[in-house]
Symmetry: D3
Subunit: 139 residues, 6 copies
């Protein structure tokens, strides 16, 4: 039976660990949301266009979850950018503004399309933001 | 013309009556939500797979309403379970934990499927919880 | 211990009964919301201005619940007015438009004040709308 | 590429101008929401029934946006009616109650259908409410 | 009587006009939200620390509205930045990234404080973003 | 300057690690929410009853965040209980129903009070649920 929650299962472990006490600013929420977008694209493609009642029920739910989690990527990434990152972080990572900006645009692209490559790109961008985040925690 | 609100009309009267002043804890919200899930399944089946523009508009809206009201069943039942029911109620109704737990799982099943039998089961479970609730009010 | 949910307990039974199967359009939600507003005013007044930590915690929560339920009165009454009532109902109850309009304004007054008389007025107005609703069901 | 936000672009300028300082009560939100409903109907009709994966993704999103913005029309119009308009405005515009009431019903009609004529009617009604609003500002 | 909605009234006209048909991307929502934050600060200061029941009711509501509208500034500004602005706009306005970033931080500052100067700064920043927006529309 | 987000910083690392790929069911959200409740209690107590404008601004915001995160604990714990845990898990952890039930009641207690001991108890209960969760993942 199809389960949206089960569909959310990321393939690789989503870690929120940190060796110093980690704050509430944590890229894990954005990471899981991006994985969810990718999983929804996969689920939709698995339907192979089947739009009978059961298929269309799943399709409608997957599009809605894809929309919500692409939006969640935007929100979580913006929280990290606007609330967590400070001028000293920008000094070390001068491309952060552009990286965040392009990630928001990728999230929109994933709303508007069912496109596994765009979903993978979104995950890669979120990973880069996450890596920068943890880099600043090492300092 | 299709009307979601009209579609919500339960077939039997949803009563929130109580002979002693009833509190805000009232299983009527869960009851109506479960009826709504059943009604949406009926509406979706009435479409007989018609996915022209008008049909698909109705389909999409019914799936969304089904999702929301299955979620509402979960929330309302959890409020009764976690906030209203006290240890003395559990003593008299030792299967309450299991009943609530299975009802949450039935609500998920109704999200994931368009299945009139599962919807009827959900209504039956909510009725059992409702009966226990009113039983405790008699005390 | 203070409990907002317990505070919601209306003094008189909130009935959603109907002798013909009642639809989802049901004034009970507006009725309970108006009772909740009144109960919050009572709870706030019970604090007698005590703003120590425990008092202010209760105060803040009661103001928030008052706000939300006054808003809920507005929303529920508007649903009945806009979605349920039809031209034939208006023909029999020509003051309905004005009654609904004044009820919305009373809900605002209850947000802006802690005023037991205004809360009682709000409950009375909702009761009049509820009576008209059930009157149309008898037809 | 399809973009819901771009789809929201109204064809005529949505103006919130006022020659006296305008208050927060502003019919522009209702105006844009009604335009959005119309745009969604257009987008849905542009699909010409194409329900392949890309088409159905767009269809599902447009129906959801249509639903949300028809609901937003209701909410914004009700705020103007219940919160802004005062007895002296009613005296000058005695048909306001009926106009608002019919606008709510038109919004429901647009949820339940994909109908360009109903969307145009909704826009026309919102424009009439907007005109009355600005009329009262001239004082 | 205190009215939050009336409190929202900006002192200068909030204009969403545009000489070419304006799109849904419109800085007016951010502008009004920033004005609301400023108005709430003013309302809170008008209380002069009065925390009797009526005063504390107003205080609690104003802090909540301040919080919500500071959050709304963040959301609306992020929508413009992430969804509307394109690389060609950035080329002409290379400080846009930094301007948006600092505006988000100012919104947080306004949540955490009751500070008229910080509210004025927030309004000034939103005005700069708005000016850039309309500049790109002239092109 | 007071920062709610900074206030959310848990003292010990919140780990979502798992040695097998972890699913979306992850007790980390409940863990962080419980920590946030505890942090809000601490922040409120730090005010030592100071209810001048700055103090009351912080107080109001902390009570609201405490309320929301106590509610989030309820929701996240219920998701784990209703959606993730299966009959075979119950067989091994027969006290799970009672543990979840008591955790919901503890969350309510934390809403209704500003009580560091109750907050610590809530964190301990969530940790027990989290431990059971990870135990089932080892299987």
């Amino acid at each position: 039976m199809f389960s949206i929650r089960r569909a959310l299962t990321p393939r690789v472990a989503a870690r929120a660990h940190c060796d110093v006490p980690c704050g509430i600013y944590d890229p894990i929420a954005a990471t899981i949301a991006a994985q969810t977008v990718a999983k929804m694209v996969e689920k939709i493609n698995d339907l192979k266009g089947n739009m009978d009642t059961a298929g269309a029920n799943t399709f409608t739910r997957c599009v809605t979850v894809k929309e919500e989690h692409a939006e969640k990527v935007k929100r979580e990434v913006t929280i990290l950018w606007g609330d967590y990152f400070k001028p000293e972080h920008l000094a070390k990572h001068p491309d952060l503004h552009t990286l965040v900006w392009q990630t928001l645009k990728l999230a929109s692209k994933n709303k508007q399309n069912v496109d596994a490559a765009a979903a993978a790109e979104l995950q890669a961008n979120v990973k880069r933001i996450s890596d920068i985040f943890w880099e600043t925690k090492k300092g």
